[in-house]
Symmetry: C2
């Protein structure tokens, strides 16, 4: 994982976020709530679709990357607290640039997510900086399935 | 709602997608699975955060807009089928540009979502065109909370 504070980041830093295997039940549960298209919900309909089988909603594949990112951050916060260090306040997401869904995620696919720091910028808001992180997911065959640049605030030590 | 087929769209067309009221339970349920940060999960922690109270994950607020978009599309498909017309195959999302979270969504907020056709482009893939739609959510006070441009395929009548 990359650093916690703004100053701990550097453009080009990269880290693994871990991986996630998409089950049928989870694909269907997400789709029922947020993206109820037949190829996300129903095996028979999905078999007749362009995908030839059930696939995860694109919003599901990016939501899972958020979960892995937050889990990593929580682990870092706990480690800092265990050493008696005060962790920084959690950063807020500001937005996303250039999100692409480039290949389907099928039942049983395991997606490995990673991030790379793309940009760092000081902002007017005292005590914070803005980090642009490219997050991408790659399936077990080495093919990228989704990627996006997430802009989030990071607290500054000097703040 | 806007047209179903590629040819039914025009740049500048706009439509309401309906609205959604965010409950505490729903905010927490999404966050537990996909964005377990304290200000999305726990009222006491959220009260001490920059938000001063529980707020929805940004990924939740955009996932709800997808649900409303799909519900609208399903209604159109059913209406077409009821008239004996064959509806087009459902379009696929290709990606997102310029997603911004501009204000928090708190418990009990009602967000009205709308879309506007921003771009239309013929693509090499026979029978399909690419539509860029700006989707935005506005709260009960008239303040935009999220917006993004979704690029999706639409089937062509001529295809």
């Amino acid at each position: 994982m990359i650093g916690l504070w703004y100053e701990d980041h550097a453009v080009g830093q990269a880290a693994s976020l871990g991986s996630h295997t998409f089950t049928r039940d989870e694909i269907v549960a997400f789709a029922q709530k947020y993206d109820p298209q037949p190829f996300h919900l129903d095996e028979a309909a999905a078999a007749k679709s362009i995908f030839g089988g059930l696939v995860a909603s694109g919003w599901h594949t990016v939501s899972v990357s958020m979960r892995l990112l937050v889990d990593g951050r929580r682990g870092q916060h706990q480690a800092a607290a265990a050493k008696g260090e005060a962790p920084p306040p959690l950063g807020l997401g500001r937005g996303v640039r250039d999100l692409r869904w480039t290949a389907p995620v099928k039942v049983g696919d395991t997606i490995a997510y990673s991030l790379r720091v793309e940009s760092m910028r000081e902002i007017r808001r005292p005590g914070w900086g803005l980090i642009g992180m490219r997050i991408s997911g790659v399936n077990q065959g080495g093919r990228e399935v989704c990627a996006f640049t997430l802009f989030g605030l990071a607290a500054r030590r000097s703040g």
